[in-house]
Symmetry: C2
Subunit: 171 residues, 2 copies
């Protein structure tokens, strides 16, 4: 399980000349970092007198950031598994018409699964951006640069996954 | 050392309601992922007949991506240490004029160090972007979406660190 590797080992596995883990897993991990930063800023806000008016809203943001952090961390592995499925399907025999048909069906299923994962990551990051915007106004102002980092990470991932996966893969 | 935590533990440490690790460490790790993706694409390119014309250029990109991957991973820790220094300086006694002067000097040094780290991360990411642009043209076209993810991650970090740290911290 990729989430159980050390940060150093994960970077090395990512850098290795094998198709997985690849961009999708990296994006899911970067999304996890964004969600984690938002939860941190919530915890640096809650219980502080001067932010009491936003206590309920920040508690809501914290709950959603925590859920997205868990989802995105799980997607680090799921993306690699999904793409491994595509590679396995590509390697199926294609000697006979029956084999070709079976391979095409397997490849179609695997591709659908492999496209779903980055799209789920992109959707989670779109939600993180809206949470970040709200938190920039209601959270601890000492940590506003952390909110900004979280927002820009989420933006980049959402952008990378929707734009890159759809445009570049189709060329 | 943060790089020796598992990915899951690192995310939890980042999410904790303590000032460090914060946005700077998250950015350095996201930069590490970007550099790792570029090295992966180089390794998926080198030795392949159809990219032989770019062999030398891709080897150069690989060498630089590998060096930046190591630098950025080290910056995950260095950013947290630098910011811890700022917090320690802020907590120095300020009862007497002599203490106030010593505290101001310590805070000034700590702030300088703490600003240097994200700027180094931003510079590394600016280099990653130029490497990604070159690799998008010269690297394995099956992995172009990974190059795109790497480029957008690097872009977001560079943007987050230069814009957010300078504009938002100054408000």
């Amino acid at each position: 399980m990729l989430a159980k590797l050390t940060v150093e080992e994960f970077a090395e596995r990512l850098a290795a000349g094998t198709p997985t883990p690849g961009g999708g897993s990296a994006a899911a991990l970067a999304g996890t970092l964004s969600a984690s930063l938002l939860r941190m800023v919530c915890d640096l806000t809650l219980g502080k007198e001067q932010y009491r008016a936003h206590e309920e809203a920040v508690r809501g943001i914290r709950r959603r950031a925590e859920a997205l952090k868990k989802d995105l961390l799980a997607l680090v592995d799921r993306d690699a598994q999904a793409y491994d499925g595509v590679i396995r399907a590509r390697r199926l025999p294609k000697g006979t018409p029956a084999e070709q048909e079976a391979r095409a069906a397997a490849l179609s299923r695997a591709n659908m699964f492999a496209t779903e994962t980055p799209m789920t990551v992109a959707e989670a990051c779109a939600v993180l951006m809206t949470l970040a915007v709200e938190l920039a106004h209601k959270g601890n102002s000492n940590a506003v640069s952390d909110v900004g980092s979280a927002a820009l990470l989420a933006y980049a991932i959402e952008e990378a996954l929707t734009a890159v996966f759809s445009r570049m893969n189709g060329r």
